[in-house]
Symmetry: C2
Subunit: 605 residues, 2 copies
């Protein structure tokens, strides 16, 4: 299958239109301002010599992702965001000016002269280069301007010379993967064989070279360097690195038509399924920000980095390109409506790096005589981090959400996500009008389509109704998709959306006997601000739920639950008082001050 | 009420006779041998100058508790254990020889000359002195030999001079309480007012002086020095220190007949009830080995120190002396049959310092790329610790278990614990013959009793039958005790003992929706060695249980439980396969190699 870019899919209505507007109008600018405050643009200005302003090993990647975000915003409406384009042009001009005559381009290494390039595997040079290349491709596609593209190509040539031709670098494969998928992107744009050669080089060398672990406390699994990529069977190590690698592997499998490599990706994907939070987050341990073992999904200490969720999105969408299996689209949807959104505050200005599934404010204060605190995620979003990879990763993803709607092959078009939009292809178009996931009604209108359209039925949906051109169809979905053969049609898809309590696999000891409330693809949570003490709340699988107006475009859910109590420490008589619980979408947590929060609620039995 | 010493209560049959024999025949000697290997006796030998053998700040307390254990063993059968008496005499002779002319006696300070006595509040000098005094009292009572008693009195005089008369010490109240209750013991033996004065001094000064926190990471709550004792309302800080303090406070309340101080103890006791594991253990955090907040009872990381359980025994029994409330005796029983016993291996030679309520061997290996381990209790008992306070604390407690059977006042005798024994008082005696807690049948025979006997009905027991002199009595227990008025009687008390699943207060988030199996006072657990993977096991409150022969004198319990599974990570369909689970007494865990273990089993719902 082929990807269909957001450039052909304009988000025109509903839930995502609002999110894209907030992203373009507020968030992209807020990220720019905070990056400006923290000198991320100053450090790439070769004239700006203040020795007290230091760059950081990942600053260029932050800046590049911001540029990429702007490119996608411009794809949507270049006139409206002309101001952003000006800002971006200025940033690009500085990158171009900073570039060394040999092509090297990295503000950290160039600013701090005692640093020798390509010696330290953990210093993110190739990672930053990858993001520069991705930004360059995006900006060129959006504006036709090729200054950054040329700079990126020149830098990649230098990288190729050093790593492949001369082989005189201190390591062979990057400590943080990213350049691999960027090279495939560059290859698909430019069709230059050197890009393919480089992507294959960095992928195939991994696990075969003598590159050392990136720091003393970790082993080779941290960077997926323990075995060659074709022998990898478990998702291990740093989640973002892992998923960027697997994404590039999936790219290679697709582009080179390598069935076996795709099967490796599939094995990894199946392992990841057992390591993914219900919110689409991954990363169970902050130490190494890494995958651990299957079904180890602690809630309070969940790392679940925003970038890792995005990386899972990237990998899942690539898997979907290779195999039309609804589970990949389900994962994309789960990330989109949960951890991707939770990463940003409802006002679009603040961010979580980590997205825990439980906050218990009393937790760090338990030991009153020896005040020590378990390391826990922060409980309030902030405007910028010193390592601020997540905010511009979120902005680029939201601005390009159109990438996730459709894929196609020679004869078929596949609709995966229900986002109010117009997709245009030659004379034909598809309009989607929907409030999804506020409700399950999706109106799909097709005109002059030259391919058969297949529409996804999400796995969470147990009942649905399809009306095409006024007639109800008795459809049977194949691998989670049903076809519409007509080239012109007006289809109303009604997905039955009922709040529904979900259990976790019993191998997950952290969620034993607890239930999570889902409404379609959206995971809900309770907060202390609505529900008081969360410790003693309980629900039944069959607890009555009703929808209520809430603080987002989606309904809150009122659940007839229980508050438990017991007069002794141990005993048989537990009192259960009926109480109304207010659940809000998980992504909206921590928007009303510090509060306890919980996704998994104990079952009342 | 008055205590009745084990000297009047000989354990003659049943469960505790076996434990006492093992203790006297094996454990006391094993502790001696390990202490000998680790030079604990060598360091008190003034002639033993090897500079590489260093004493430790708590070595003298270890040795003293061993001496106290021997004294209680001799109380039981002096002839049989003449060998132990010889060993003890030799140790005492060395203590006497080591004592400085001014009375000071501490192998650590005396061996390491650069140390200045009574400057460092955290160096356990007064703690060791307290244990020396307790050992001296016990040994004198057991043997009539007063060498150690004289040495202890001389040392206490010196302590009095320095702390009270001269007031020229580096601190006023000890960093580790213990001397307070030892002084009350000494006072009750010698009736010397200086002992009372000293006990009151150390108790009353606490929280009123400028003594610094004992280390930088803790605050005054760690040593219960945050407020004066009469203002203390929460059990805080290091559990052993706290409970030794509260025990001495209860002694003072009883001896000085201070109602208000007793009420303070009661408030503390009620707080402790919310901080006690179902196994009678206390101490929820290894950092500071301390009490935390109510209902914070983590299982895998439970500190639940053996010494802390013993300290809770001491405090509860003292509370029982002041107020005949069955809850105190219930706590004593809970400690006796669970954490006290679990501290020692079934062969009597190895010990736990910490007594966790869950072992999950896979836990420390979850992060495969950044191998780091959460600090967890050890999973196998060891023969000796560098800080080996627990083993001799256990031996002295088991040897003196007769202390916990009876209390008395002017007209009444109270039977609290069902231990096969003969209690003798003048012409009268009471024989108890029982296999309790293997079953609930307790035969109590009284002869020539001059006081009315009140017999406890444990709170865990919902149904019972009392037959006195062949006739069933329709009794109503008052505060958990029923009377037998006859001075000669033959009573059969049948406590209905059914395996029973217990819940935890819902405020305890760690045990939500889990059940613990109890059989009378005995808490049971499952081990991996019997049951395979414990993660996916579940039980129902009404699961059918049956008794089976096990590895201890108590039955194992076979429970018709469930093994759960789910084919996906999240979903609604959980499969439950019926399976037989073998539960063993908690105290017997970790006797068959390293194994997973769990007390709280998820409920199947």
């Amino acid at each position: 299958m082929q990807a269909i870019s957001h450039k052909a899919v304009k988000v025109t209505n509903g839930f995502w239109q609002e999110r894209q507007r907030l992203n373009a109008d507020v968030t992209v600018r807020a990220v720019y301002d905070r990056f400006s405050d923290t000198h991320r643009f100053a450090v790439i200005n070769p004239l700006w010599k203040n020795p007290f302003v230091r760059s950081h090993i990942f600053y260029d990647s932050d800046t590049a992702k911001w540029l990429e975000s702007v490119a996608y915003v411009l794809d949507d409406n270049r006139e409206k965001y002309a101001e952003l384009e000006k800002l971006a042009d200025a940033v690009i001009a500085q990158f171009v000016a900073l570039q060394a005559p040999n092509g090297y381009l990295n503000s950290y290494y160039q600013r701090h002269f005692f640093r020798i390039p390509f010696l330290n595997r953990n210093n993110h040079e190739l990672y930053c280069a990858g993001h520069l290349a991705e930004a360059a491709v995006a900006y060129y596609k959006a504006t036709g301007k090729d200054a950054l593209l040329k700079a990126a190509e020149k830098y990649l040539s230098y990288i190729r010379k050093r790593f492949i031709v001369q082989g005189n670098t201190g390591f062979t494969t990057p400590g943080h993967e990213e350049i691999e998928l960027a090279l495939w992107k560059m290859y698909e744009l430019t069709e230059k064989e050197t890009c393919k050669e480089m992507a294959e080089f960095f992928l195939e060398k991994r696990g075969r070279t003598k590159d050392k672990p990136i720091y003393s406390a970790c082993n080779q699994r941290q960077t997926q360097s323990h075995v060659p990529i074709r022998e990898q069977t478990e998702a291990v190590g740093h989640c973002v690195r892992a998923l960027y690698l697997y994404s590039a592997m999936a790219d290679m499998a697709r582009i080179n038509r390598e069935r076996e490599l795709f099967d490796t990706c599939k094995t990894l994907y199946q392992d990841i399924v057992t390591k993914t939070y219900i919110t689409g987050g991954v990363g169970s341990d902050y130490v190494g920000e890494c995958f651990t073992v299957p079904y180890d999904l602690p809630n309070k200490t969940a790392y679940s980095e925003s970038c890792a969720a995005i990386a899972l999105l990237l990998f899942s969408q690539r898997m979907l390109l290779a195999e039309r299996d609804v589970r990949y689209a389900d994962t994309v949807e789960s990330v989109l409506y949960n951890t991707l959104l939770s990463s940003t505050s409802l006002d679009g200005k603040k961010f979580f790096y980590e997205n825990p599934l439980e906050i218990r404010l009393a937790e760090p204060h338990k030991n009153t005589s020896n005040p020590h605190k378990e390391r826990l995620p922060i409980t309030q979003r902030v405007e910028v981090f010193s390592c601020s990879c997540c905010p511009p990763n979120v902005t680029r993803t939201i601005a390009s959400v159109g990438d996730y709607l459709y894929t196609e092959d020679a004869e078929n078009l596949y609709l995966h996500q229900f986002i109010g939009s117009r997709y245009t292809s030659g004379e034909g178009y598809i309009d989607i009008v929907t409030n999804y996931p506020a409700d399950g009604i999706v109106r799909i209108t097709g005109k002059n389509l030259s391919k058969k359209l297949w529409v996804r039925i999400p796995s969470w949906c147990k009942r649905y109704k399809v009306i095409v051109n006024g007639e109800e169809r008795n459809i049977v979905a194949e691998n989670g998709y049903f076809p519409i053969e007509e080239s012109d049609f007006d289809c109303t898809l009604s997905l039955e959306m009922q709040p529904c309590f979900v259990r976790c696999n019993p191998l997950c000891v952290q969620n034993r006997n607890a239930l999570a409330l889902c409404y379609g693809p959206v995971v809900y949570c309770v907060e202390g601000v609505d529900n008081g003490c969360l410790d003693t709340l309980a629900v039944k699988q069959e607890s009555v739920c009703s929808l209520a107006k809430g603080l987002t475009a989606l309904p809150d859910i009122i659940v007839e639950g229980y508050r438990l109590s017991m007069s002794s420490t141990y005993g048989n008589e537990e009192a259960a008082e009926k109480t109304s619980l207010r659940f809000i979408p998980y992504f909206a947590f921590a928007n009303r001050g510090e509060s306890d929060m919980k996704v998994w609620i104990p079952a009342f039995f």
